[in-house]
């Protein structure tokens, strides 16, 4: 796509909305979980805080079994990821392997805390004078408080902000367009705490050095736009624009949202900061406000517990580490015909095998599905190349080709056809008349491509080292041969010199 100056064009973000290719109109089913206001559930018996919560490696724990921790105390860190904190005061029961909230279903090290009921905060260090604080200190506070992207990717916010600051960002986009059906946690946050979002937006804008903020909302149930606009007006903030965007799934995906707001596409292999934009979730902005103005680390989040398998669906403000079973109990329990428990939405979420799985920073929804929800009308058939999938793909890929390539392990072709650009939204899977599990194939394919890239890198390094060693050995051999040749030559010269001189010289004989 040719654009004269994309950064200039991106400055007009939000002035009008554009369309992106493909996408689906889905029934949102969000109203079932928005009937009652959000509340905090009672403290569970145990809190299980996994040490792997962010994109990156497992964190190193700072505590051990038997320690007493306070609410908000740092209990783990893995540079350069964000820190992990204790969600409430209590005793560390153990640091052991428990089931993690991850699509692999693997176990991993978790800090198990038994709350003492006192909910005692650690000494908080808020930033009192934000306007006169440097951007560096703000970003440092974000890292200390463990703020990460709460939209699902859990990318550490301080890293994103630092990177954005280097690259001259002019617009901060706050993503409040929760496009997946059933999930309503962001919607409830925007309805109940719009001022906090506005405060967070202003802090992030300051930290990034951006000029304006655009908050994108879907407003499925109305009232959000008014609430946010009013909050912005109250804060006398003229650089915040609240924009209602289309209700087509997966319009809340970062790349699709940028296309809708600016009409531009993020270059393949590039990032939104290439266009002068940074995208954050509205919940992240609220967490940033808490971190900077009150010094509170990220220890709780809005989470929707919903689905046809839950008796009374609703939203909670749950502590990180709360087991799912506790939240489900707090909304009346399961229905008779519940069949599957999914973390996330029905399009992109992954199933979990047990409801003892804890809430982590990335969990935005617990979806309980009934047997009726998950049965497909027909078993998988071969692909009939109808093209519905490529019609629906928001990344303009050719899922029917990619699927055949992955099935037949044609990895180079799959890479050429853009498999790594797939956002795993599930649109292609949803429309397929043959009910081929396309998203599963693409997740497998992407994993294999990444593995091959790592392996190719390793073999390239091994080859280089081997060749370097061969070169070194060859060089040594050559040097030795040269030395020998020189010595021989020297001896020959000496002997020749001796015979011609005809005078045995003691010194020369020794040399």
């Amino acid at each position: 796509m040719n654009y004269a100056d994309p950064v200039e064009a991106a400055r007009d973000a939000g002035k009008r909305t554009h369309h992106f290719h493909g996408g689906l109109k889905l029934k949102h089913n969000k109203h079932i979980s928005c009937l009652v206001p959000v509340k905090r559930p009672p403290l569970p018996e145990f809190l299980v805080v996994p040490l792997l919560q962010h994109a990156g490696d497992v964190a190193e724990p700072f505590v051990k079994a038997g320690d007493h921790v306070l609410k908000g105390q740092q209990i783990g860190l893995c540079e350069p990821c964000a820190a992990i904190h204790a969600p409430t005061s209590g005793t560390v029961e153990a640091i052991e392997n428990r089931l993690m909230t991850h699509s692999s279903g693997m176990t991993g090290p978790c800090v198990v805390i038994r709350p003492d009921g006192k909910d005692q905060w650690v000494e908080l260090k808020p930033i009192t004078d934000v306007l006169n604080t440097s951007s560096d200190s703000l970003i440092n506070q974000l890292q200390e408080c463990g703020i990460a992207g709460l939209g699902g990717a859990v990318f550490p916010t301080h890293t994103k902000t630092l990177d954005g600051r280097e690259r001259q960002i002019h617009t901060l986009i706050l993503n409040g367009s929760e496009c997946e059906p059933y999930i309503s946690c962001d919607e409830m946050l925007m309805r109940e705490q719009p001022e906090k979002i506005v405060l967070g937006a202003r802090i992030l804008r300051r930290a990034l050095g951006a000029e304006q903020v655009v908050i994108a909302i879907e407003d499925q149930m109305g009232a959000v736009q008014e609430a946010l606009t009013y909050a912005a007006e109250c804060a006398e903030c003229t650089s915040i624009l609240v924009v209602k965007v289309t209700k087509i799934y997966p319009e809340g995906g970062e790349r699709q949202l940028i296309k809708v707001l600016t009409g531009l596409e993020v270059p393949a292999g590039g990032r939104p900061s290439d266009l002068g934009l940074v995208c954050q979730n509205v919940a992240t902005a609220a967490a940033v406000a808490d971190a900077v103005l009150e010094g509170k680390p990220l220890i709780e989040r809005y989470i929707t517990v919903t689905g046809n398998g839950i008796l009374h669906p609703r939203n909670f403000l749950a502590l990180i580490g709360t087991p799912f079973s506790h939240l489900v109990e707090a909304c009346g329990g399961y229905t008779e015909d519940v069949a599957r428990l999914v973390v996330g939405g029905p399009m992109m979420g992954y199933p979990v095998s047990s409801d003892s799985t804890p809430v982590v920073k990335a969990s935005n929804c617990i979806l309980a599905l009934t047997q009726k929800d998950i049965t497909t009308p027909q078993a998988e058939m071969p692909c009939i190349r109808c093209g519905e999938c490529s019609r629906a793909c928001p990344a303009s890929l050719l899922p029917q080709q990619l699927h055949l390539q992955i099935r037949n392990s044609m990895w180079d072709e799959a890479q050429e056809y853009g498999l790594l650009a797939c956002i795993e939204c599930g649109c292609c899977d949803f429309v397929c008349p043959s009910h081929i599990p396309l998203v599963q194939w693409f997740r497998y394919g992407k994993g294999q491509l990444r593995q091959r890239a790592i392996e190719t890198q390793a073999t390239d390094i091994a080859r280089e080292r081997f060749e370097a060693r061969e070169a070194r050995l060859l060089r040594k051999k050559q040097e030795r041969a040269e030395k020998m040749a020189r010595r021989k030559q020297m001896l020959k010269d000496k002997v020749a010199h001796k015979t011609t001189a005809n005078k045995p010289d003691g010194k020369e004989a020794d040399a």
């Binding site: 069949a339 599957r340 999914v342 409801d355 003892s356 998950i374 009308p377 692909c383």
Partner: protein, 342 residues
Amino acid sequence: MRNFEIGGAPHMSQQITVARVMLQVLLALVPGILAYTWFFGPGILIQILLATGFALLFESLMLRFRGQPLKPFINDYSAVLTAVLFALCIPPLAPWWISCIAMLFAIVFAKHLYGGLGQNVFNPAMVGYIVVLISFPQAMTAWLPPLALAEYGMGLFDSLVVIFTGHLPASLSWDTITQATPLDTLKTGVESGRMVSEIRQSPLFGEFGGKGWEWIANWFALGGLYLLYKRVISWQVPLAVIGSVVLLSLPFWMADPDGNPFPMQHVFSGALVLAAFFIATDPVSGCVSNRGRLIFGAGVGIITLVIRRWGGYPDGVAFAVLLMNMAAPLIDRYTRPRMYGE
């Protein structure tokens, strides 16, 4: 604490199935089939039933032979669709063994030996049609005139007798009951030097196409529009096929109105409308991208016209479709749509 069973995303799905897609196409063919029966008698219905029977038989045999389960494939109506499309291309009184041989080649060779559903390179119905067309030219060119013009109208019983035994009712011979199609008449007439306007005086021709044939084409077009509305097919292929035929025949007609038929004559003759909406839109053997589909349709239209004008056969649609099927993978390669961010 409770345990659950795992399954993959997404966790909701639509009610659409392959069988439903095929059924919609079959439904869209019904008006055209009814018009055909109205104009030409019940022979076509017998052909459809015969072809369907043979197609399902061969499909079951091949599935058994390949060790695959029968139920999902027989129930997906793809063999039925192949059979119906083939039956609509052959003369209503073709002997029963024509359907048998054609379905053998279509289902066994063109479909299953290439891998089964979704893997055929060539359109199976067209492969079957071309095999019998080339092998049995006499049986395949014994077309009937419309009932309105026929000296002897073949009823249901008569048709059955002819199809299964090859014997005509007493006192009739093949020459008396068969007649050349409008396209055939046009072709031989133009080649022998007569003017188009003169040829069109013949009672064989109707308002804008062949008598009877034009209405059948209309009803097929209506079915095609229904498919477009239901988004079963995309508009690129029909537009390209019909558009290229019109655009290519227009200059010829304008230059020499006596030697060339009016573009609409071309469109409403032969199997062009059927091909535009039902045959060339076969997703498996066609192109994947939208631009590719336009090129594919244009190719079908152009080759059809070339064969009609200069080739040996009165109607070249089947050959055109097969030739473009050969080119489809290459077209796909060069018309890959631009990805997001490229």
